[in-house]
């Protein structure tokens, strides 16, 4: 007999069997009757007698109506079949049902209110959602921002349905163009190949939620979350870059991954307002937007901020805090979210240094200045491309510099002058020496003559 068997037989011998049976009986009595997959409970069948009728709806007045239809089979096969209708629709009073006073609520308003119901069971996910950009947009009154039921239909949802086949990905309902770009990218194509062969949780090629997370979605264009998401999967990529890319860490910091890994994208330099003391991006204060009014005031001509205007704008922001607290952090990025998702295979990524490190490179033709909104999304204002090459910007654009590509013009003139002086001074001096050669000979002859005379005497 093994040690474990010995322990178990001792435990069984000491057990009070009637007590255990009583305990199990009580437990079963306190648990709700769990419905089997595809089998509806008696109460739910009663609800669905009406609600499963196609087109079942309720008028809202003004010709508008709210759909109250719930398909019975998908519901019976959903994870929420175990809960039953009344676990979520707690506000219903059976006696007053169909005469309820919530008839003025539309589907959207009802679903927003129902987030509180989701929270009862899905506390962690709803908390993450509350901190997300989606929830912030809902709070702002955005009618298109998603709430729980927009991504997870409560009457049909299954385990991990959000990470099922590509066609089922709910993000594409709102982000259709971006999803299309993703689907044709190296990631999307890999996912498509895996989709038919592996279960969703074993597919390694990333889908939306792998980079953007499913509930705590933040603005993709701010912070370092997306870059970190890339590096989470592509471990060792920094070492691989270091093999051929000088200052690889600096490039990782100042250049977004798609800027090189989407070879055809239109790129730009975004100069983001950054708090150098708190070490984070400057965010607009809630309810006190300053960025747009200040940039408009600084950009009097409307042609984009020039070097002087950029400096004065920065001074404006520095008035709010310590001297030099607000700085500009430059970052090379692609111009749109669609382009950011068109990632290509590594072999097709940009590796030629002179794509950026030469004068007039395309990447430096578009410059923006930006700040993060309270919800994290950036607000951009155009700047003139000369801000990257002007000596006036040495201080204001101190944190962004691409050797060759954003070199300061004034230094080029100084270089030419130095080169000219270096050649012209010796050449001029030599020329003068050559011109004076006869005069010099004559002087030498005159100098040596008296000595000769002296020697003769």
């Amino acid at each position: 007999m093994t040690c474990a068997e010995g322990k178990w037989s001792g435990f069984a011998a000491n057990m009070n069997v009637p007590f255990v049976l009583a305990f199990l009986f009580l437990m079963m009595g306190s648990m709700p009757a769990l419905a089997a997959f595809g089998v509806l409970s008696k109460d739910d069948k009663a609800c669905l007698e009406c609600h499963a009728k196609k087109g079942f709806s309720k008028p809202r007045g003004g010709g508008d109506s709210v759909s109250l239809y719930v398909a019975d089979k998908p519901f019976s096969e959903s994870v929420h079949n175990d809960n039953g209708c009344t676990d979520c629709h707690t506000e219903l009073d059976i006696k007053k049902h169909a005469k309820a006073d919530n008839k003025k609520l539309g589907t959207r308003e009802y679903s927003i209110a129902a987030v509180a119901v989701c929270r009862d069971c899905h506390k962690k996910n709803v908390k993450q959602y509350d901190d997300s950009l989606h929830a912030a947009l809902v709070r702002e009154g955005n009618d298109e921002a998603p709430i729980c039921s927009d991504c997870h239909d409560p009457h049909t949802t299954r385990v991990n349905s959000a990470t099922g086949p590509m066609d089922d990905v709910v993000c594409q309902n709102c982000h259709g163009k971006i999803f299309k770009a993703y689907a044709s990218s190296v990631h999307g194509q890999a996912r498509q190949k895996q989709a038919g062969k592996l279960p969703a949780d074993q597919q390694k090629a990333p889908i939306c939620a792998d980079c953007h997370r499913s509930h705590e979605i933040k603005a993709a264009a701010t912070g370092g979350r997306i870059k970190n998401a890339c590096l989470d999967c592509h471990k060792g990529t920094l070492i691989l870059h270091k093999v051929w890319l000088p200052n690889a860490e600096r490039h990782f910091d100042a250049v977004s991954c798609p800027a090189c890994h989407v070879a055809t994208a239109k790129r730009r330099v975004d100069l983001r307002l950054y708090d150098s003391i708190a070490n984070k991006e400057v965010t607009e204060k809630k309810g006190v937007p300053q960025f747009e009014s200040r940039t408009r005031a600084a950009d009097a001509t409307g042609r984009g901020l020039d070097a002087l205007a950029l400096r004065s704008l920065l001074n404006e922001f520095n008035r709010d805090g310590a001297e030099g607290q607000t700085v500009l952090r430059g970052r090379l990025e692609v111009s749109s979210g669609v382009e950011a998702h068109q990632l290509v295979a590594r072999s097709r990524a940009i590796k030629d240094c002179d794509t950026c490190h030469r004068e007039g490179a395309d990447v430096f033709q578009t410059v923006t200045i930006s700040i993060a909104r309270p919800d994290g999304r950036p607000i951009h204002h155009g700047a003139q491309k000369e801000v990257l090459t002007s000596p006036i910007s040495v201080d204001s654009v101190r944190g962004f510099y691409a050797i060759g590509g954003t070199r300061i013009k004034l230094l080029d003139y100084l270089f030419v002058m130095a080169l000219f002086a270096g050649i012209a001074i010796p050449a001029g001096h030599m020329t003068l020496k050559w011109l004076f050669r006869r005069y010099l000979k004559q002087l030498e002859t005159e100098r040596s003559s008296p000595q000769d005379d002296t020697a003769q005497h």
């Binding site: 600096r250 910091d253 002179d354 004068e359 007039g360 050797i403 060759g404 270089f415 270096g422």
Partner: protein
């Protein structure tokens, strides 16, 4: 004509490594900064060469620095403590190069073991070796790995400021690399000072010693 030993071996080694390295640094620097205009070599190769030669230059600097630090030859760099005398002598030297040389005037500076630099050289080399070269090395190291030295880069005003200082020093060296050998050719023969930097011995004209 007397020969005096003014360039000890460590100084000569330092000088020629320095000369070759500076030329290569300028060429690779031009390639890095003006890619598209100048296409001597690929950008990446230019950066790699620039970095490696930069470290050779820094190591070489310490040959010079340690030799003079632990040798009595450091006297050649001792500054003239009287500003009036220094400027008077410098002006006299300038007058010689700008005027006297054309009519055969003797060089006002007479080389000796502990006095090998004329007043203009003395001032220029002190500024170059103790200020501009260290600044160039320092900014070069910061630019070599901006992320590693992020705190220092930020302290000095950001990568753009550091690079601007590096380029200003580069511009100075571009002019220097032409003017320095030309001035070296103004000895009693055009090759006298060049030979001296190989052999260590300067030839002193008898008249000049008096």
């Amino acid at each position: 004509m007397e020969r005096i030993y003014v360039h000890p071996l460590p100084v000569r080694i330092w000088h020629w490594i320095n000369a070759l390295s500076f030329i290569l640094m300028i060429l690779t620097g031009i390639q890095i900064r003006y890619i598209g205009v100048v296409n001597i070599m690929p950008f990446k190769a230019a950066v790699d060469w620039h970095n490696w030669i930069g470290f050779v230059l820094i190591a070489n600097f310490f040959i010079w620095f340690l030799f003079y630090l632990f040798s009595d030859k450091i006297k050649v760099y001792h500054p003239e403590l009287s500003p009036m005398k220094h400027f008077r002598d410098s002006f006299r030297q300038m007058k010689y190069y700008g005027y006297g040389i054309f009519k055969g005037d003797p060089n006002p500076h007479h080389v000796s073991v502990y006095h090998k630099f004329n007043p203009m050289q003395s001032m220029t080399y002190q500024i170059i070796m103790l200020l501009i070269v260290p600044i160039q090395f320092f900014t070069g190291i910061l630019l070599w790995d901006v992320e590693r030295f992020q705190a220092s880069v930020n302290f000095f005003g950001g990568v753009r400021v550091v690079d601007t200082v590096h380029v200003l020093a580069f511009i100075f060296f571009v002019a220097f690399i032409f003017i320095h050998p030309y001035l070296a050719s103004l000895g009693h023969t055009p090759t006298a000072h060049f030979k001296a930097m190989f052999t260590g011995y300067e030839e002193i004209e008898d008249e000049a010693r008096h």
